[in-house]
C-alpha cells in the first residue's frame, strides 16, 4: 500500500472513530438521563448561561430574517398577483424553516462554542480528570445537564424566533410594502397547520441535542493544550452546522412526505 493510501485510510479510520465516539456520548447521555441525583442546579445555571449568550443575538437575527422573508414573499406574491397569501406563506416559511435554522445557527454558534470552550479549558486544566478521580462521572454531572439545558433553550428560542419573525414579517408587509393588515391576518392560517409547529419544535429539540453533544464531545477531547481548545471550538461549530443543516433537510423531506399539505 502506498504512503498516501495508508494516510488516507488512517484519516478515514480516525474520522469514523470520532463519529462513533460522539455517537456513543449521545447514547451515554440518554442512558444516564434517568440516573439520580439529577443535577438541577447545574441545569439551571447552564440554561441561564445558554439563554444569556443567545437571547440578544437571536432577537437581532430574527427581525431582519423575518423581514427578508416578508420582502421576498411580498414582491413574489405581487408578481403573481397573490398578495392575499403573503401572510400564509410568511408564517409557513418562518415557523417551518426560518425559526429552526436561526435557532440552529445561534445554538451552535453562540451557545455551543461557549460550552465547548468552557469544557475544553476545564479538560486541559485536568479538572475533568480530577472529577473522575473524585468518583464523580463528568458525563452525568456536567454533560447531561448541559444537553438538557441546550434542548430546553432551543425549544424556547425556536418559539421566540417564530414569534419575532412573524411579527417582523407582518410589520414589514404592512408598514413598508403597503400590504393590508386584514389580508395578512385572514390568510394567516390558510396554509399553515398545527403539525408545522410540531415539526418545528421537534427540529429544535434535535438541534439542541446534537449541538450540545458535539460541543461537549469536542470540549472533553481537545487535542494538546490551549491551541487544541481553540481548534476544538472551531471544529465543534463547523461540525454542528453541517449536522444541523443535514438533519433539517432530512426532517423536512420526511415531513413533507408524511404530513399532507393543507390546501387553502
Amino acid at each position: 500500500m502506498t504512503a498516501v493510501a495508508t494516510k488516507a485510510r488512517s484519516a478515514a479510520t480516525t474520522a469514523a472513530s470520532e463519529i462513533g465516539r460522539a455517537f456513543a456520548l449521545g447514547l451515554e447521555v440518554l442512558r444516564l438521563l434517568p440516573r439520580r441525583p439529577f443535577q438541577f442546579e447545574e441545569f439551571l445555571t447552564q440554561a441561564w448561561f445558554v439563554i444569556r449568550v443567545t437571547i440578544v443575538p437571536t432577537a437581532l437575527v430574527s427581525i431582519p430574517y423575518g423581514a427578508t422573508i416578508a420582502l421576498q414573499l411580498g414582491s413574489l406574491t405581487q408578481q403573481v398577483g397573490a398578495q392575499s397569501f403573503v401572510g400564509a406563506a410568511g408564517v409557513l416559511a418562518t415557523v417551518q424553516q426560518a425559526a429552526p435554522i436561526a435557532t440552529a445557527l445561534l445554538i451552535a454558534g453562540a451557545a455551543g462554542s461557549a460550552m465547548c470552550a468552557d469544557l475544553g479549558a476545564r479538560t486541559i486544566r485536568e479538572e475533568i480528570d480530577a472529577m473522575r478521580v473524585l468518583g464523580v462521572d463528568p458525563i452525568q454531572r456536567l454533560v447531561v445537564p448541559r444537553v438538557l439545558a441546550m434542548v430546553f433553550v432551543a425549544v424556547l428560542l425556536n418559539g421566540f424566533v417564530s414569534i419575532v419573525g412573524v411579527v417582523g414579517g407582518y410589520s414589514f408587509n404592512v408598514f413598508l410594502q403597503g400590504g393590508t393588515p386584514g389580508a395578512y391576518l385572514a390568510s394567516f392560517n390558510a396554509l399553515s397547520q398545527l403539525p408545522d409547529l410540531w415539526i418545528s419544535e421537534i427540529k429544535a429539540v434535535l438541534f439542541g441535542f446534537v449541538a450540545a453533544i458535539i460541543a461537549c464531545y469536542r470540549g472533553l477531547n481537545p487535542r494538546g493544550g490551549p491551541k487544541g481548545v481553540g481548534d476544538a471550538v472551531n471544529q465543534s461549530v463547523v461540525i454542528t452546522f453541517l449536522l444541523l443543516f443535514l438533519i433539517n433537510w432530512i426532517l423536512t423531506t420526511i415531513y413533507l412526505q408524511v404530513v399532507p399539505p393543507k390546501v387553502g
Binding site: A121, R122, R125, D129, A130, R132, L134, G135, V136, D137
Partner: protein
C-alpha cells in the same frame, strides 16, 4: 490500613509509540513509595493508568480485589473513592473557591450536614496551611497554594491510597520539605498507601519507604529505598547525582558514541554537571513528634527483614545500619554481617 496495589505486567502505548512495558510492582499497604524517572518516561501516564484515567494495553492493576484494567465503569467509580489524587497543578475547579473545591467530594459522596462539612474542610485547609484563603478562587492564588489546596481536596474523604504527581514541581525546597513532612504525618495519622511521582532527589532520598525508577520504557527497579540509593546501576547513579555523564541524554537515551565523547570531555576537565555523589542512605523523615508511630514503618521493617538476604550487599549493609540496637537484636542481625548475596529486583 491503606489498600494494597498490585500491578502486574502493565503495558501502555499511544498509537505505535510504546510508553512503558511489563511494569510489575506492589505498593505495600500503608507504606510510602516514590517513582523516579527522567522527564518523559511516562511517570504521569503510569499514575493515570493506575486510576483508570488512561487504559493500559495489557496487564493488571488490582486494588482491593478489583482489577481496574478490566472492571466496569461502575466498579471503577467505586474503586476511585479509595483514592486521593494530587495532580500536578492541583486541578482545582476554576469556578469554585477553595472552600467549595475542598467541600466538593463531601457534598457529592456523603450526606454530611453543612456544619460538619465546614468542620472537615477547615481542618484540612488548616492542615495544608491555607487557613484564611478559603474564599479565594484558584486563579487568584500561587501555584504552591493551588497544589496544597489540591492536596486538601484529595484528603477530605480519608483516602486509603494517595497518589501525588510531582508534588515538588513549582515549589521551593523549603515548601517541598514541608510537603514531605505533611505526607509522612498523614501516613502516620491515617495509614494510607502513598505513591509519589517525582524527580526531586532530595524528596526521593528522605521521604519514601520504597523507591522505583522508570527508564527506557521499563521499570528498572522497585524495592526498599536502600536498594536504589546504594545502587551501582549507571543510570541510577547518573540520575541521583544529576550528571550529564551516563546513559540518560537530553532526548531520553543516548548512543555509545555520544557517551564516549562526553566521557572524553569530562576526562579533559569539562564540568559534568553534577556536584557531589549523593548516593548512600540518609535518615528518613519521621512523623512530627506527638503523632502516632507509622504502622506502615513497622510492617515494612518486618517485610524487608524477611527479604533481606535477597537484596544486594550494599543495601543489606545500609538497612542493618539504620536499625536501632533493639531491632538488631529482635531480628538477630548485626552490622557488617552479610546474610547472603542476591540481586536487585
Amino acid at each position: 490500613m491503606g489498600a494494597e496495589v498490585v500491578v502486574e505486567g502493565l503495558t501502555k502505548s499511544f498509537g505505535s509509540q510504546n510508553i512503558w512495558r511489563d511494569v510489575t510492582l506492589t505498593l505495600p499497604p500503608g507504606e510510602v513509595s516514590a517513582m523516579l524517572g527522567p522527564s518523559g518516561t511516562g511517570k504521569s501516564v503510569f499514575l493515570k493508568s493506575m486510576i483508570g484515567l488512561l487504559k493500559p494495553d495489557s496487564g493488571k492493576c488490582v486494588i482491593n480485589g478489583t482489577d481496574i484494567v478490566q472492571c466496569s465503569e461502575r466498579d471503577m467509580y467505586e474503586v476511585r473513592k479509595l483514592f486521593g489524587v494530587l495532580f500536578q497543578d492541583g486541578a482545582l475547579f476554576g469556578s469554585m473557591n477553595l472552600y467549595d473545591n475542598v467541600a466538593f467530594p463531601l457534598r457529592e459522596h456523603t450526606k454530611k450536614s453543612e456544619s460538619e462539612i465546614k468542620r472537615i474542610v477547615l481542618e484540612k485547609l488548616e492542615m495544608t496551611g491555607l487557613s484564611g484563603a478559603e474564599g479565594k478562587l484558584p486563579g487568584e492564588i500561587s501555584g504552591g497554594m493551588r497544589k496544597r489546596a489540591g492536596l486538601a481536596r484529595a484528603l477530605v474523604l480519608d483516602p486509603e491510597i494517595i497518589l501525588c504527581d510531582e508534588p515538588d514541581s513549582g515549589l521551593d525546597p523549603v515548601r517541598t520539605a514541608y510537603l514531605s513532612q505533611l505526607l509522612i504525618d498523614l501516613n502516620a495519622q491515617i495509614d494510607a498507601t502513598i505513591l509519589v511521582v517525582t524527580h526531586n532527589i532530595n524528596l526521593a532520598r528522605t521521604l519514601p519507604d520504597n523507591l522505583g525508577m522508570l527508564f527506557r520504557k521499563e521499570l528498572i527497579m522497585f524495592g526498599p529505598r536502600e536498594v536504589l540509593l546504594t545502587s551501582e546501576e549507571p543510570v541510577v547513579e547518573q540520575f541521583l547525582n544529576g550528571k550529564r555523564l551516563g546513559p540518560i541524554g537530553m532526548s531520553e537515551e543516548k548512543d555509545t558514541a555520544q557517551m564516549a565523547a562526553e566521557q572524553a570531555m569530562a576526562d579533559a576537565g569539562h564540568h559534568h554537571g553534577g556536584t557531589e555523589d549523593v548516593r548512600g542512605i540518609v535518615p528518613q523523615i519521621l512523623p512530627t513528634p506527638g503523632l502516632p508511630d507509622r504502622k506502615g514503618e513497622r510492617r515494612r521493617k518486618d517485610r524487608v527483614m524477611q527479604i533481606l538476604h535477597t537484596l544486594p550487599p550494599a543495601a543489606q549493609e545500609g538497612i542493618i545500619e539504620s536499625l536501632s540496637e533493639q531491632d538488631r537484636q529482635r531480628y538477630g542481625v548485626r552490622p557488617h554481617q552479610m546474610t547472603g548475596v542476591g540481586g536487585a529486583r
